[in-house]
Symmetry: D2
Amino acid sequence: MSAIRVLFLGDVVGEPGRKAVIQQIPILKQEEGIDFVIVNGENSAGGRGITPKISIDLLRAGAAVVTTGDHVWDQQEIVSYFPTEPRLLRPINYPEGTPGNGSVILETSKGRVAVIQVQGRSFMQPPLENPFLAAEEEIERLRADGVRVIVLEIHAETTSEKIAMGRMVDGKVSLVVGTHTHVQTGDERIFPGGTGYLTDAGMCGPDESILGRSIESVVWRFKTAMPTRFPVAKGAVRLCGVIADIDVETGNCLEIRRLSLLLSNEDVAE
Amino acid sequence: MSAIRVLFLGDVVGEPGRKAVIQQIPILKQEEGIDFVIVNGENSAGGRGITPKISIDLLRAGAAVVTTGDHVWDQQEIVSYFPTEPRLLRPINYPEGTPGNGSVILETSKGRVAVIQVQGRSFMQPPLENPFLAAEEEIERLRADGVRVIVLEIHAETTSEKIAMGRMVDGKVSLVVGTHTHVQTGDERIFPGGTGYLTDAGMCGPDESILGRSIESVVWRFKTAMPTRFPVAKGAVRLCGVIADIDVETGNCLEIRRLSLLLSNEDVAE
Amino acid sequence: MSAIRVLFLGDVVGEPGRKAVIQQIPILKQEEGIDFVIVNGENSAGGRGITPKISIDLLRAGAAVVTTGDHVWDQQEIVSYFPTEPRLLRPINYPEGTPGNGSVILETSKGRVAVIQVQGRSFMQPPLENPFLAAEEEIERLRADGVRVIVLEIHAETTSEKIAMGRMVDGKVSLVVGTHTHVQTGDERIFPGGTGYLTDAGMCGPDESILGRSIESVVWRFKTAMPTRFPVAKGAVRLCGVIADIDVETGNCLEIRRLSLLLSNEDVAE
Amino acid sequence: MSAIRVLFLGDVVGEPGRKAVIQQIPILKQEEGIDFVIVNGENSAGGRGITPKISIDLLRAGAAVVTTGDHVWDQQEIVSYFPTEPRLLRPINYPEGTPGNGSVILETSKGRVAVIQVQGRSFMQPPLENPFLAAEEEIERLRADGVRVIVLEIHAETTSEKIAMGRMVDGKVSLVVGTHTHVQTGDERIFPGGTGYLTDAGMCGPDESILGRSIESVVWRFKTAMPTRFPVAKGAVRLCGVIADIDVETGNCLEIRRLSLLLSNEDVAE
Ligand SMILES: [Fe+2]
Ligand SMILES: [Fe+2]
Ligand SMILES: [Fe+2]
Ligand SMILES: [Fe+2]
Ligand SMILES: [Fe+2]
Ligand SMILES: [Fe+2]
Ligand SMILES: [Fe+2]
Ligand SMILES: [Fe+2]
C-alpha cells in the first residue's frame, strides 16, 4: 500500500505569515516527508487577498496548489492573473464564466491529486451557488475520471456547514479541511467512510493577534462600533495546518494530525 | 499558593448529552480533582433550550453553575423559573428588566468564584446590548467587590468576537471560554496578563452527528434548502470542555487543558 | 393595439387578508376591468405559508396564479400539493428537483400570459441559487417560445436587489413587482425599455398592524429581545397591489398604477 | 391653533443629489411655506458619508438639521467635526462617549423643535444599542423638558423595525420618518395617537439609477458576485421626502404628504 502525505496550511496572513510559510515549506517537506502542499493564500497580501507575485512566491516555495476564499478578489490584479495559473483556485461555486477555476488535477510522482475549493453560504458574502451540489458534481466528475486522491477545502463560517460538507462527501474524497475562521479546531478525525476531516485548519500569521490583526484595533472596533483600520499584527508567527496520509489506491485517509507550530522570530529571519 | 480547579463543559445536547454529563460530573470531579463545575445547558432539552427540571438535575449532579445562550428561552417554562435559581445564567447583555441574571458569585471552600455569561452580536440573534461594555462593567463591579476568581463565558459565533473578548479582559478575569459553535477549538492558552482562554469548548452530545443533530437531516437541509426537523443524533457521546487551574489569590490561570472524552454506550448505561 | 389588464395583489396575511381578497377579486375584476389576477399567498395561512385549501379558494375566487416566497413551505401539506397545481408557484431559483415550479404559462382570451417568481438573496433565508441568472434564463426560454406578456415577481428584502432585477430585465418582460416587505412603495414607473415596475406591492391584511401582525407583540419583541407569538392583527383590512395595462403584441407596459384599498369591516362581512 | 410645517428630505446621494437639494431648499421653503428642514446627508459625499464642507453647505442652504446613518463615519474628517456642530446628528444608540449627538433641540420662531435619529439593528451594521429603549428614553427626556414638536428619524433596513418604532412612539412624537432604503414608500399616515408616519422618505439623487448608483455596476455585481465600484449615476435628479404640518401646542401631526419631485437637468443648472 502506497501513501501520499499531504500538508494543508490555513489562511496565510500578511507579510509575517507569507514569509514564515515560504521559509518553512521546504523545511516541513523534508522533516515531515510531505509530498504535496496546499496553502490558503486569501489573506496573504496585507491581510486582504493575494497578488500574482505572492501566488508565484508560494508556488516556488513548494506549494502545489494555492487556494483563496471570500477575499479572493481583494487585489484587483489577481482577476486577470487567474486564467494563467491553474494551480491558483477560487471557490468552485461561482457562476459559470467567472475567471479562474475551483478545482485542479495535478500529476505527482505518486499519481494524480485533485484539489477542490468550495465556499459556504451561511453568513458568507457574496452569496454563491449551492456549495453542496457544486462539490458533489465536481467530485463525481473527478472520480469518473479515475482520480482517487481528492482534497476538498470548505471555506466557510459555520461549523454546521463545514461538518455537513465533510459528512456528505465521506467515502468520496480523501480529506476535507475547513478554512476562514483563522482558529484551528481540535476535531480532526477519520469519518466512517474513510475521509479525513478537520473543521478549521487555523491560520498562518502573527500569534499575538486577533485573526492576524492588531489586538487593539479589533477590540476598539467591538467596543465603539467606530470604523478602524486593522493592521496586520507583529511578532512571532504561528503556522497552523493539517497533515494527512492518504492511500493512493483507495483515496482513503490513513492518518490525520494537526500542525500548530510557533516560530520564534529568529526562525523566520534571513 | 492555593489553586482552584474549574471544569467547564460545552453545550449539552439533548437527552444523550445530559445523561452523559449527569453521570460523568461526579466521576470527573473525583478523578480530576475538580473543585467547580460550569455546564452550558442551552441545548439540553431536546436540543432546544433547557427546562427547570433539567437545570435542577444538572445542579444536583454537581454543576455549580448552569449557563445558557441564544437558545435560553426556547422552553417557555424557563422564563418564570429564572428568578428562583441564581445559579442558572442567561447572557448578561439583555436589557434591564429581563428575567434572570447574567452573573453570579458563589462561596466555595476555596473562596468566592464568579461566573459571567455574555452573548456576542456578530451573526447572532436576537440583537443584544454591547457585550464588551457589559462584560467590562460587570468585571469591574466584581473586582471592586474583591472577587478574583472570575470565569467569563462568551457565547458567540465568530472567532474574532470571542478572541477580542478574551484579549480585552486579559489580566482581569481568570478564564474566558467560548461556546455556541459546538466544535472544540485547539487554541487553549494563557494570555500574557494571566487569563486562560479557549475559543470554543465544544459540545457534550452524540459524536456521530452534526452539532449533535442527525447527519442526514442537516445534509439534506443544505442540499435542498427545504425545511426539515433536526432530530438529536444517537450513539456514543463525546464530552467536550476545558479544565483550568486558577490561583485563588491573584485570579491568574496557572494551567489550561482541553477535555474531549468519547464515552462508549456502556459508560453511560445505568 | 390590444391590451391586457393585470392585477397583482401583495402578500395576503391570515384569515382577514384572504377573506378580503376572496371577496374583492370578483368586484375588482368587474369594476376595474381586470383580465388577469396574480396573488401572493405566502402568508395566507395564519400568517405562515399556504395550504392546498387556501390555494384552491384563491384560484376559485378568480386568481389566475398564486405565488409564494420564503414562507412557501411553512405548511407541510403544501409540499406534496405543489406537483398537482401548476398555477401555484414557488421561487424558481430553488435547486433542480424541488417540488413545484417557479413559472407558468396560461392561455387567456387575450393570449398567453407567463408569470415567474424569483427570490432574492440579500438578507433572505434560505440561500437559493442566483436569482438574476435564473430569471434571465427563464425569460429567454419564454421569449424564444413566443410569449410576450410576462410578469416577474421578485420576492426580496432589499431595494437594491429588487431594482437591479427590474432594470436587468427592462425590455424583456412586461411587469416586475416586488413583494416580501409588506409595505407598498411609491415608485411605480415604466422603465425606458417598456417594463412596468414597482419595488413592493405591499400587503393584503389588517391595516392597524405591523406587517399584518399585532402591534403590541412586535413592539414588545423589539424592546425586550424575548421570544413571543405574533398573532395576526384584527380590524379593517387594506388591499395593496398594482394594476398594469400591457400591450399584448409587444409585451410593453402601457400604464401602471398602485392599488391601496382600505375596506371597512362591513365590506368584508357576508 | 398654530402649526409648523416640516420638510424631511431623504438620503442625499453624491454631487447630483446635494446640488439639487442645495438649490431646491430655498425654493421649496418659499413655495411650500416650509418652516423647518431636515436632510439626511449620509450619502452626500460621493455616495459615502458626509464631509464638514457638505454639512456646512446643506445648513447654509437652509437645512435646520442634517442627519446621517450607517454611513456616518465613511469620511474620516467628519469624526472630529461632530463635536463642533450640534445640528449634525448621528444615530443616538451608539455607546456613550461616541463623538457627536443623536438629538438636538432648536429654537424657531414657532417654538422649540427637537430632532432625534436612531438606527435599526435588523440587517444593519455595525450592531448598536437597543434603538427602542434609546428612543423611548430620549423622548421622555425631551417631553419632560416641555418639547412637543419632535421628529424621530429611524434609519433602518426592515419595514417591521421601522413600523414598530413608529407605533411604539405614537402619541409621544410628532413625526416618524424612515430612511436608508432609498425608495419612498406609499404608506404615509397619521397614527391613532397623532403621530405622522412614513416608512421611508426615499432618496435625493439620480433618478435613472439603483439607489443613486450606476445601473450597470449594480446589476453586474448581482449577476457575477464580483467586486465592483458603484459610481454615482448621472442624469435628472429626483428629490424625495415628506412634508408634515405639526400642531405646535400638542405636537400632533395635522397633515402628512409625500414629496417626489423629478427635476430636469435645467432645474439644477446654475
Ligand atoms: Fe475567508
Ligand atoms: Fe481568511
Ligand atoms: Fe448557541
Ligand atoms: Fe449550543
Ligand atoms: Fe416573504
Ligand atoms: Fe410576506
Ligand atoms: Fe443607510
Ligand atoms: Fe443611504
